[in-house]
Symmetry: C2
Subunit: 120 residues, 2 copies
DNA sequence: CTTTCATTTGAACAACTGTTCATATGTTAT
DNA sequence: ATAACATATGAACAGTTGTTCAAATGAAAG
């Protein structure tokens, strides 16, 4: 509701008023952009990336993943929790052990995209 | 150089020894996975996502971006620095103002990929 | 040169994140 | 029951991150 002119203004804080309002109108909802950042945050840790990479090849139980990555079972379990909540991995129970696997192929695509960007 | 058998072992910490060694062999270099996580870390902040989204539409100067996002010029400048270092944006100077724009189309693809994952 | 404006930079602080350690849950076998 | 094992969870701690504030560049104009 501001009544500022589009030309000949004091230029206090904005240099290109019409560009600003045009761009602002085309922005996705605040919440969507927040969710997007939150999604990328999941991939923003090398332990989680490693876990996902491991699961590219086969479903695996927690202690095997820990073994492959040379990390504590507890640390892996904590990260699997994050991946689980983000719906990036799924799991099934077989007796005492729990097998984790990729939830869908989107994970592969997103990580592949990142890899492609790096290798250039 | 451990000489453990592949069958009939005490199962101290690993449940599936051959799977472990096979998967471990197929893993990309430690450093590569670290770099990959670092790349996603750039996208893992909603301010940076917003900046990139704004630059989808047009090149823009710092104060205009700040205006669109309703944030301090200083905050935007700090984040542009991060994006610049990651080679995700480039800039040109025109007198006093500096115009930022997307470095290449990879940014668009990666963010698009994330969006696609969210909208399902 | 001095002023003004766009931007950058550094220090400081609060908020967040990942790992560790100890402990709890849940399952199987004895 | 109890023991052994795979996994999960909570608290705590160090390390990292994003914003703010104040001050510093750097460029154009008077």
């Amino acid at each position: 509701m501001d009544t500022m002119r589009e030309t000949d203004m004091p230029t206090g804080e904005e240099l290109h008023p019409d560009l600003i309002s045009s761009v602002h109108a085309d922005m996705p909802a605040e919440e969507m952009l927040y969710d997007l950042a939150e999604l990328f945050r999941i991939f923003a840790d090398s332990t989680r990336i490693k876990i996902l990479y491991v699961l590219f090849e086969a479903e695996m139980c927690v202690c095997d993943i820990a073994q492959v990555l040379g990390m504590t079972q507890s640390a892996i379990s904590h990260q699997l929790r994050v991946l689980k909540q983000a719906k990036l991995v799924k799991f099934r129970r077989d007796g005492k052990t729990i097998y984790y696997s990729l939830a869908d192929d989107h994970v592969r695509t997103i990580i592949g995209m990142g890899m492609e960007h790096l290798c250039e």
